[in-house]
């Protein structure tokens, strides 16, 4: 047991693990792209929380390095989400679907190209 952790850091540590797991479970369960994006963002939040809790859970001044990394991560997450949403709109235009289904999707793209 890590003695440096205070009880409140412990709570957030377990929250981080739970949020990551919930996100992963959701990602594996869904083929709906919007939902998958939500779950990937959940997983990201879980990782961010883990980084900060491990960096700042002990006594003393908060560690600014993980905070800066997570700040960078939050900005990158929103940019990547924006890009993924643009891909989704394009995908929807090509396949008329917002889901991922390997066989049907390949056919749909082929049809869109043939037209």
């Amino acid at each position: 047991m890590n003695d440096a952790l205070n009880p409140s850091a412990l709570i957030y540590l377990l929250t981080a693990a739970a949020v990551f797991g919930i996100g992963l479970h959701g990602l594996l369960q869904s083929r709906q792209i919007l939902r998958q994006l939500l779950t990937i963002n959940l997983m990201g939040s879980g990782i961010f929380l883990l980084l900060i809790t491990l960096g700042g859970g002990s006594d003393g001044p908060p560690d600014p390095v993980p905070q800066a990394m997570v700040l960078t991560g939050i900005v990158i997450a929103v940019s990547a989400t924006g890009f993924a949403l643009a891909l989704l709109l394009r995908w929807h235009e090509l396949s008329d679907s917002t889901e991922l289904d390997a066989v049907a999707d390949a056919d749909a793209v082929q049809d869109a190209h043939d037209e």
């Binding site: 003695d3 957030y12 919930i22 959701g26 939500l38 001044p61 600014p64 890009f83 643009a86």
Partner: protein, 327 residues
Amino acid sequence: MRAPDMRVPDMRVPDMIGLGIDAVLALAIVWLALQTVRSRDLFKAMLMFVVFGLLMSLAWARLHAPDLALAEAAIGAGITGALLLVTWRRLQADGHEPADSEHPPLPLWLRLPTAGGASMLVASIGWVALELPATPGTAGELAWQRIDDIGVSNPVTAVLLGFRAYDTLLEMAVVLAAWLGARAVAIELRPGALPGPAYAEVPLVGALLSLVVPISILVAVYLLQAGGNAPGGAFQGGAVLAAGGVLLCLTGRLEAAAQTSGLERVLLVLGLVVFSLAGLLVMASGGAMLALPGLWAIYLVETALLLSIAITLVLLFAAAPGLRRAS
């Protein structure tokens, strides 16, 4: 100078009220994450995710990370939520309301192992994290020791623009790449009004905008200025400025243009160019690359970063090559 209010209060005496708040917050965060995943209604799931972001920002505040709390509220909950909802509306406008399939995507015999595997992963992450020994002599301690060299007293800003400036520079490259990618795959958009509620006609909207948009600019500049010695900085400020731009798009004051204008191009690359140039010029005078030569250089770079972040987020929201004033 080290800001005294950034130090963690003595936690050896358990603070029962604080612990209670943490426990309730943690439960709410886990419940909202579950709802985001489990809710059958995708729209509801998106709203749950936005609320999740807001509670995460409270959690950051509880974890003594006020910079993250600001960023999460403005970016994680605010801009991400706006991006999700506007995409939803675009799909809806195409007559296609995204919904989960009628049939569960995975058969039951696969779903149970998936859930079991995810739970085991959670348990192992939690276990490993609990067993991790406290590591002395981290980069953070070094950053605290040398913070006076940078000239700003907010340690996060010092790390972002001083000790780990590479990360921030490359982050700007990633943000630009994300926009370029989104631009490359964007569907051909008819120039003109962006999809959004037709609130533009309501008389109060004009009055509201003339109040809220200047305030968003003011708050953005304040956050930038405060970032040196208090929570805040270019990213939070950029997100607040972007929120003002999003509002102008939503109310029809800005509409899609067919081309990216020259000004928009300059603003998109401004952060990357100014940061790189400042970093290289330092080398010319014998310093290390990206070792910004003083407070003025930090603020100059931060201003450029703020403008680039803001324009990128607004353009990502509009999913248009450029924006123009509505005629």
